[in-house]
Symmetry: C2
Subunit: 318 residues, 2 copies
């Protein structure tokens, strides 16, 4: 299995440039003063569909030949990838088939439908999701686009840090959260090429620490009964992603739930932007002193902003 | 009394350019599709201190001669202007004296103190605020910087729409909220000069409609017992501001409280940014069909993002 290289990310960037938002990079003087470092946040919460996932989905969809694309794309997801794939397919004018667990939040279903995705519901187990997806793929001829264990998805995700470094110059540290590893693997490839001296550090919730354990034990350990408020980071790391991460990433650290909520609140209050808990995980690592960033220039990818305003967590950890 | 001209706004922009954030302009394809128009939001909620007020305060502070500045600046305010003036003074290295009512929210006091402002508390009446400010000015020799009825403050506020038009080209409609009129007067001068054909429309809460009534009755009518969730828009329009607005603004419309909350929620959910209720007032006017923007390119200044996360209004108007 060929690993993506930086040239593939450059091609991905050309391919998706006209479809994705060139998201802003924001910073807060007050936060920098409090934390004694220079933080630059790449705001993928302001990306289309509210998450970096649109980059990868877009690259995957527009990498297909006309013949491949004709019958559409499919995936199983209850999260941002589902909405991202539906929108990317809709832009290309092809159908998208999304398998979702029947207990998925109404807000997620509405998002997928709003972008033109055709939903098939199934029981909320991985097995049901996979068999349903296999059936849908068979019936429709649609091509499966995995949310992260996919060459073109990884290349698309790598374009966020490419924009960050192109805009703000070289960094001492680049950080992002890790769930399945799509963002981290793409980020690691692009950073190694553009900013070879930067430390590449991923952050993960303690309650879903399969990437941390896999990285340190040097073998892929699946996520079993993960539990965290960072609902974008519950999945197990993908095989292709793990191979890249082992080669390119410097460190993975874990953070507490309290730290995630504290970091999320700091971003909302100080930066006036809405991020979902998963986005706050790298800042939580800084707040919890899991790495030393004093005096350093740090780039952080904020992964997404899809959070249910009815269920804000700020009271849970006071 | 000389009225500011566009050349004064250009000078203000040069003066403050290195101190203020060049804030991003964001848009949402989904909102544009729903509302059948092209909205561009100038995000002054992402400005320093979380509000456009920093532009005006900065221009006022840096317009002072060294001699004038030496003894510092003062104002009475419990809102964004207080924090903005404290930060601007702190950047120039001069003292700032802020008179605040003794019932001001803790979060506001902390913001002013955090930026180095020296607070004097007084009874929560306009008379107490004015007499206390007069005493402080006398004792310290500090120069008063009014939050909006001030030539240099108006010129500073006008730089936001200048950036918007320079970045995104000409608009059919330019909108902003109106409270004291600092933002609207500066916005109107800059828009008339850069984009003469644009309609300039301000939006105001029904419960604080002194600007609406003043504009239509062609005389300054003070705000008496205003009541609105848009706490940045409670003040009466300033005299200098009103003279400019009468000459340059095309229309003022009013919106309901329910409309403000609905618009605020739409901005949070769709754009993933935090805006305070005052910022949502122009979008509320569009949602409530107070003007016809179908097919039009509309620029909206989002005035600020300082909102107490403990007291979100989303349940009040369900």
């Amino acid at each position: 299995m060929k690993l993506p290289e930086f040239a593939d990310i450059e091609q991905a960037h050309e391919r998706i440039r006209s479809y994705v938002h060139h998201t802003p990079v924001l910073s807060s003087s007050t936060m920098n003063r409090i934390l004694n470092c220079e933080l630059h946040f790449k705001c993928e919460n302001l990306q289309k569909v509210g998450a970096f996932k649109f980059r990868g989905a877009c690259n995957a969809v527009f990498s297909l030949s006309d013949e491949e694309a004709a019958k559409g794309v499919c995936t199983h997801s209850s999260g941002n990838h589902a909405a991202a794939l539906a929108l990317a397919a809709s832009i290309r004018g092809i159908p998208s088939y999304i398998v979702m667990p029947n207990n998925a939040p109404t807000i997620k279903k509405q998002a997928v439908e709003g972008y033109g995705g055709q939903i098939t519901f199934c029981e909320p187990t991985l097995e049901a999701r996979e068999t349903t997806l296999a059936r849908i793929a068979m019936e429709t001829g649609a091509i499966e686009i995995h949310p992260y264990n996919n060459f073109n998805v990884i290349c698309g995700q790598g374009t966020a840090v490419k924009e960050l470094i192109e805009e703000k110059g070289l960094f001492d540290v680049i950080m992002c959260p890790i769930g399945g590893g799509g963002l981290l693997s793409g980020t690691s490839i692009a950073t190694r090429a553009l900013n070879p001296k930067a430390l590449i550090i991923a952050a993960e919730p303690e309650g879903a620490d399969d990437a941390y354990r896999s990285f340190h034990e040097k073998k892929l350990i699946p996520s079993i009964n993960p539990k965290t408020i960072a609902d974008g980071l519950l999945t197990s790391v993908g095989e292709l992603n793990f191979r890249i991460i082992q080669r390119k990433t410097d460190e993975i650290v874990t953070v507490s739930e309290r730290g995630i909520v504290r970091a999320m609140r700091m971003i909302w209050e100080r930066m006036k932007i809405i991020v979902e808990p998963s986005s706050a995980v790298p800042l939580a690592a800084i707040l919890e002193n899991k790495l030393d960033v004093r005096g350093k220039k740090v780039g952080i990818i904020l992964s997404g902003g899809n959070v249910d305003l009815e269920k804000l967590p700020f009271h849970e950890f006071v």
